[in-house]
Structure formats: structure tokens, C-alpha cells
Amino acid sequence: VDTREVIRIERDIIATMSRTGWRYRVGLGLSAGMVVVGGIAWSLALRRGLGVFGLNEPVMWGALITTFVFFIGVSHSGTLVSAILYFARSPLRAAIGRSAEAMTVITILTAGLYPIIHIGRSWLFYFVLAYPSQRQLWPNFRSPLTWDVFAISSYVTVSALFLYMGMLPDLAMLSRRVNGWRRPFFRALSLGFSGTDAEWALLEKAYPIFAGVVIPLAVSVHSVVSWDFAMSVMPGWHSSIFAPYFVAGAIFSGIAMAILLLAGLRRGYRLERYIRPGHFEMLSKLLLAASLVMTFTYATEFFMAFFHGSAAEAEVFRWRPTGAYAWVFWLVIACNSAAPLACFWGRVRRSLPALVIISVLVSVGMWFERFLFIVTTLAHTYLPQNWGLYRPTVPEVLICLGGFGWFFTLFLLFIKIFPSISVAETMEREHAAAHSAELEANHA
């Protein structure tokens, strides 16, 4: 790795920020269009009230909360996987770490919109925050919903700082490589980082501490989201397996989303040299492992429901694969348990189009999985006279699609403003790889 090589790495990665092709413009246009449509649908809900949604008694949580849980799940995998790969010293991290961490921050920002929309009077969302008010009311700290507010706020703050801390060397490099308004912008953001030996030593000491904070926080946050459900005594929710089940589902859906984003980046910006087929193969193995864990969890839920003798619990689990939402159940099984099994074949793991199709199926399957357990429990609770069905209305569907548009819009803007692959880590990895190759050649 000499200066020419370093310049090439910088140039290739910075090209993602400067080159704007038609695919990017179309993608951004479509995403922004979805945001506008979702915004219009939300404005309808603000003007007319929650009646425009399909929520009812007994199903008071529907597509919006489903989308919230889905995006929280996607978010957790990014920073968590990046931190784990850091400790594992995996070469995968240099390629996927930055995008995964950005995905985390952006998905939390997306997920956070949905409870705010769901409460109806969105302008009063600050009531959940702990602040002294003239009402002399404080949030109830015994409530899992309050835990959620603290958990998600902590996680988004720590994830954003984790992303930022890892970007400092690249921001410093950019402050010297770009011109115009971006130069002072990056200079300010780099906080004066200059790459001195002392700064590298500091960063290498601080980063693992931060990664060590991120991992338990990531696990805790999705556990807390699961407790929104599991702390109630509803059949289908009141289960001690919910926390690990949610964490596994989060990793599963996050890996699928990471594959989709990386495939788009690789294709759109010709980053084949940095995001390699081997990286996708590693991700596909993780996806397969997570899918097997999910299947095992589904089976365990059913086993426990029929084994422990609660009639209401057994009824919910009998109804899921046979009742009004049976098509959702079987879609979930097909997408989350069956489709990823194709990754047992090496040819599938090495085929990017096949992995993209599987990742799309997993993302669809995971959204419907969240829908399944939220809606079927509420629709089919203890008293048969309370049973009811729920169907999302057009505004709900548009708001959910708007969330996906919001997510992709923010991600596309992120890769236009910041490098989507860590330049410093890529240089370090290329340098280490060159040395390994040289040692092997000498040994041979």
C-alpha cells in the first residue's frame, strides 16, 4: 500500500459522494415521493383523528406499531453487528460497518415517528418525557412504554456517537480533500482530528470501550421493546422467550436490510473492490443462522403454548395458522423459515441476485411476523365475545410506505454527504492484506 494505492482508495470511496447517476436520482425521487404521500396521509389523520385508521376495540395496535417494531428490529442489527465484528477483527467490518451503523441511526429515527403518529395528538408526544411540568406529573417508570422511551433515546444517542466516532478519521481526511462549502463543514465535524499517533492510540482505546457499551445496550433495547408486549398478561405475548426472540429477529431483519443496502451501494457506485462476494457470503451464513434460530423460536412458542395447559394461549396459537390471518402466518413461515434455507447451497450464497431476493423476502416476512403477533393476540384474546378483526386502512398503508421512503431518503442523503465505507479502515485492511500476501509468498 503506497501513496497511489491510498489515493485510489480515497478516490473510489469519495466518488460515492460526488458521482450522482440516474439510478441515484430515481431512487431518491421515488423515496422522497413516498415520504410526501405518507405525509399527506398523516396530515389526514391529524385533521380527522384516529378514526381514519382501522384500529378498533380490541385491536388498538395495528400497522403503525408493526412498522415501529419492524424498524426498531432492523436498527438493532447495524450497530450490534458492527461492534461484534470489531471485536472479532473481521474483515467484513471495513466493508459493511459504516453502512450498518448509518442504517441503525436512520432506522431508529424512522421507527420513532410511528408511536408519535399512533398516539393521534402527535403534538403532545413530549408528555412521555421526564420533565418537570405544571401538571406535576411524571412518567410512570414502572411502565414498559416509559422504559422504551429511555431505551430508544439512549440507543439512538449512543449509536449516533458510535457512528460519528468511527467517522472522525474520514472526516479529517475529507476536510483536506474536498473544496467549497464542504471543506469547513468537514473540518468542523472532524473536531480537529489530525491522525497523530497519540490520537490513534486514544481512538483505539476509546473505540472498544464504546463498542462494549453498544453491545449490551443493543441487546437491552430490543428486549425492552419485547417487554412492551411480554409484560402484559395477554395470550401469545406473556412469555419469557420474547426478549431473545426479539433480539434474534432484530439481527435477522437487520442482516437482510444490510444485504439490500450493500448490494445497492456496490452496484450503484462500482464498489466491487471493497464490497466483495465473500462479504455477501459471510452475511448469507449469518442470515441462515439467524433464520434457523427464528424457526426454532417459532417452534418453541407453539410447543410451550400447547404444553403448559393455558386454554387461551393454546387457542391463540391454534388460531394463528388456521384462522383469519392464516395467510400471514404461512407467508411468515415461507419467507423467514423456508426461503433462507436456500443459503445452505454455496451457489445461492455466492449469487448476489439470489441473496437480494431472499433478503427482500425476509424483510417482507419480518414485517408480517411483527404484524402477526401483534394483531392475532389482540384480535383473539381471553373472552370470545371480545374477539374482532383488524384491517389496515389506506392512510395507514400509505404512512407505513412513507416510513420506508423516509428511511431510504435519509440513507441516500447520508451516502451523498458522508463516505459509505470507512476509508481509514479500508486502508488499514488493504495494508494488512498486502503484508499477509507478501509473507505467504516468502514462505512459499
Binding site: D2, W138, M173, G192, S194, T196, D197, A201, F210, M427
Partner: protein, 164 residues
């Protein structure tokens, strides 16, 4: 006091060789500026007082834990929530937010410590490197007094591959 001498290297391996030769010439106070954490940045023997980062993170964690515990306990007492005969201070339920704020404060403290210590240690080395080299080059900075006296020739020879 003589000015430090800045030497620019095109390739991290050349800088690494120079650092090894400087150590053989008993120059242990050279500094390196690099765009990436190549092995050369670990050769200057400047680990610094970085165990302080652990302590700062721990102090942040304790602050977060205490803040959460006080927030939950004091507000629960002040609000007069109806708890149906159960304890007003529900520590198992409070534990979740105590954990979250412990981790949050530890992370934020760690980050702030990184920013402050980086600024404190950067010094004039960074300015000298910025003036002399591009973002992709490796810079070795040796104090000017090392180029005086009997060992000066060895120091110059050590930096031979670079551009001073």
C-alpha cells in the same frame, strides 16, 4: 529551541522502517501523523495516560446509574402515584431505566473524554504535518535538538527514505 523536523513518507512501510531506525538511534520522542492506523503509529511508544478513559467511562456509568435512581425514586415519591399497597419504590422495575442511563452516560463520557484528550495531545505536531503533507502521506516529526550533537548523522540516515 530548534524547530522540529518534519519528514514526509509516501508509504507506511518506509515510515515504519524509519521509526525502527530512529529507535536504534535512541530517538524515542518522534511523533507520527498518519491517515490510517497503520502499524507505524504504534511504534512511537506514546500510549499516553489512556487508562484514564476507563475511569472516565466508569465515572460516567456511575453518574448515569445515580441519576436514574434519583430521578425514579424522587419523582415517584413526589407524584403520589396510587400503587395499591405495593412499594412506592419499585426497584426491579426501575432497574431497566437505571441500566439504560448507566450505558448512555458511560458512552457519552467516553466520547467527550476522547474529544478533550485528542485536542490536548494534538499540539503543534498536527499543524506541522498539515502544512507539510497531503492527507494520504505519512509524516514523522522529530524534535530539532535530535539533529544536534554526535547522534545527528544517525538520525538523518534513519529518515533517509523520506522527504524532509
Amino acid at each position: 529551541m530548534p524547530e522540529p523536523v518534519v519528514t514526509v513518507f509516501e508509504d507506511p512501510d518506509a515510515a515504519e522502517r524509519a521509526l525502527h531506525r530512529l529507535q536504534e538511534a535512541e530517538v524515542t520522542d518522534a511523533r507520527v501523523v498518519s491517515p490510517a492506523p497503520f502499524p507505524v503509529v504504534h511504534l512511537t511508544g506514546r500510549p499516553g495516560p489512556w487508562p484514564v478513559l476507563n475511569k472516565v467511562a466508569l465515572a460516567g456509568a456511575i453518574t448515569g446509574l445515580t441519576t436514574a435512581a434519583l430521578l425514579e425514586a424522587l419523582t415517584s415519591r413526589s407524584m403520589g402515584l396510587v400503587v395499591g399497597g405495593k412499594p412506592i419504590l419499585a426497584w426491579p422495575a426501575f432497574g431497566v431505566i437505571m441500566f439504560e442511563l448507566t450505558m448512555l452516560f458511560a458512552g457519552v463520557a467516553n466520547f467527550l473524554a476522547l474529544v478533550v484528550l485528542s485536542a490536548a495531545t494534538r499540539g503543534r505536531v498536527a499543524e506541522a504535518a498539515r502544512a507539510a503533507a497531503n492527507s494520504e502521506q505519512i509524516v514523522v516529526v522529530v524534535p530539532g535538538e535530535r539533529f544536534e550533537g554526535p547522534g545527528a548523522a544517525a538520525v538523518r540516515a534513519a529518515l533517509g527514505e523520506g522527504r524532509s
